[in-house]
């Protein structure tokens, strides 16, 4: 990891093709459901956004496991609209 950078780990549990996650508008690429990003601390919040479209009843989850101060967990089941989207602000 580069000096001065913080490792941010995002994990997903989703089988849908229609799933996307972005940090500050840049796409997060996952490998085996996990993305480990080296990010520079900044005064402003980072913005994690995610989107999913699938059949009603589809279950999925997203989680930030590192660093501690950014941790979050979210899991949901898609309702009749077949859509969900979320946003999470965090500092590192």
């Amino acid at each position: 990891m580069a000096v001065g950078k913080t490792k941010v780990v995002i994990k997903i549990k989703v089988s849908s093709q229609f799933f996307r996650a972005h940090i500050d508008g840049k796409r997060v690429h996952f490998e085996n459901g996990e993305a480990a990003l080296d990010m520079e601390p900044k005064n402003k919040d980072y913005v994690l956004t995610w989107f999913i479209r699938d059949a009603p009843g589809t279950k999925y989850g997203i989680q930030i496991t590192e660093p501690d101060r950014a941790k979050m967990t979210y899991a949901a089941t898609l309702d009749a609209s077949g859509k969900d989207a979320g946003i999470y602000w965090f500092k590192i």
Partner: protein, 351 residues
């Protein structure tokens, strides 16, 4: 050796069954896309089932990754199918379908979908590409979060999502307006290899039996338009074998005065080729149903085919996963078909 191909496909179906059983285990191990640490997983996703059949009636060239089994049946052609999907990188998906005809279809009656590989044991490989780039206006979302927390000050760890705003319909509507779902683009390529047994007689009524290999290539592209559904265009070219015509002969029974009627297919199977152009549409209807109408044209046969799969059956865990398929073809003066399908979850492009 003669049954080898069928055995390969049947074995694959069994493996698919075992894989499906493994994937729906309560601890969620071994699913293609999972990776949460186990400790967090149990608390975060109780009851989460990630197994999902993702390709409506397994007939479309495009489908997201997943794994599933399906049995389709009508009065002539029954098939058992299994599919295994795999994500390759973030935009590409690979899947394999194993399709085995079940029971004895009438060789003389052409399948209503005019599929030249309908009576073959088929291995079907596909690779898919998806481009999708939705956006969310963070400033609007921040204002919605601020208002939500003002109304619900006790919810300090609230994660702002569409799903979490069910109790605040006005904020949910504003949040929906802040999301630009954008159009998604698909492309897919499929290659199919099938093997089929043929039994026929020569002009001396001597019986022969042999296996033939058929091939098909399929290309597809489509768009998912928010509010409209999925519209796709497919092209398929097939090279396959078709059994000859059957004749009924009245022959003496064991040389005696009694006669018997025997059916023979005279002559070896003939090689055929067929191209198909298809337009398809997919849309869910609320949470209780989905449709996937398809219109196909076969230039060489100058024949049209209209299919209307309707998803009607709900599985509490898998969603819409069965229904009926109405079909009509213009060939031979017009034929109408009705089939049931069970086990395949409608997944693509819910609206």
């Amino acid at each position: 050796m003669k049954l080898f191909w069928r055995l390969v496909c049947m074995t694959a179906l069994c493996i698919g069954s075992a894989q499906a059983a493994r994937d729906i285990s309560p601890d969620g191990q071994d699913t293609p896309t999972q990776s949460l640490d186990q400790e967090s997983e149990k608390t975060a996703y109780p009851g989460l089932i990630s197994v999902k059949m993702a390709d409506p009636s397994l007939t479309s060239p495009i489908g997201p990754p997943g794994l599933g089994l399906q049995l389709t049946t009508d009065n002539k052609d029954r098939k058992a199918k299994a599919k295994i999907g795999l994500r390759i990188g973030n935009d590409f998906f690979f899947d394999v379908k194993f399709i085995v005809p079940v029971g004895d279809a009438d060789a003389e009656v052409e399948p209503i979908d005019l599929d030249g590989l309908a009576r073959s044991s088929v291995i079907d490989l596909g690779i898919h590409y998806l481009s999708w780039n939705p956006k969310l206006d963070a400033d609007k979302a921040r204002a919605i979060l601020t208002e939500y927390l003002a109304r619900n000050p006790e919810k300090k760890n609230f994660v702002l999502t569409l799903n979490n705003l069910k109790s605040e319909p006005d904020l949910r509507r504003r949040f929906l307006e802040a999301v630009a779902w954008k159009i998604a683009f698909f492309a897919a390529l499929r290659a199919k290899v099938g093997r089929q047994d043929f039994t026929y007689a020569d002009s001396n009524f001597k019986s022969f039996s042999e296996q033939k290999t058929s091939f098909a290539l399929e290309a597809a592209a489509g768009v998912l338009i928010p509010g409209w559904g999925y519209i796709g265009f497919n092209f398929e070219t097939q090279k396959f074998y078709e059994a000859g015509n059957s004749v009924d002969l009245i022959l003496p029974y064991r040389g005696g005065p009694v006669q018997q009627i025997k059916s023979y297919i005279i002559g070896p199977p003939g090689k055929r080729d067929r191209n198909k152009l298809q337009l398809e549409y997919r849309k869910t209807i609320g949470s209780f149903g989905a449709i996937n109408p398809r219109i196909s044209y076969f230039p060489k046969d100058k024949a049209a085919l209209i299919e209307l799969p309707v998803y009607l059956f709900q599985n509490p865990d898998a969603g819409l996963n069965g229904g009926i398929n109405l079909a009509w073809t213009s060939k031979n003066g017009g034929r109408l078909g009705l089939a049931l399908f069970i086990g395949s979850t409608f997944s693509l492009t819910p609206e």
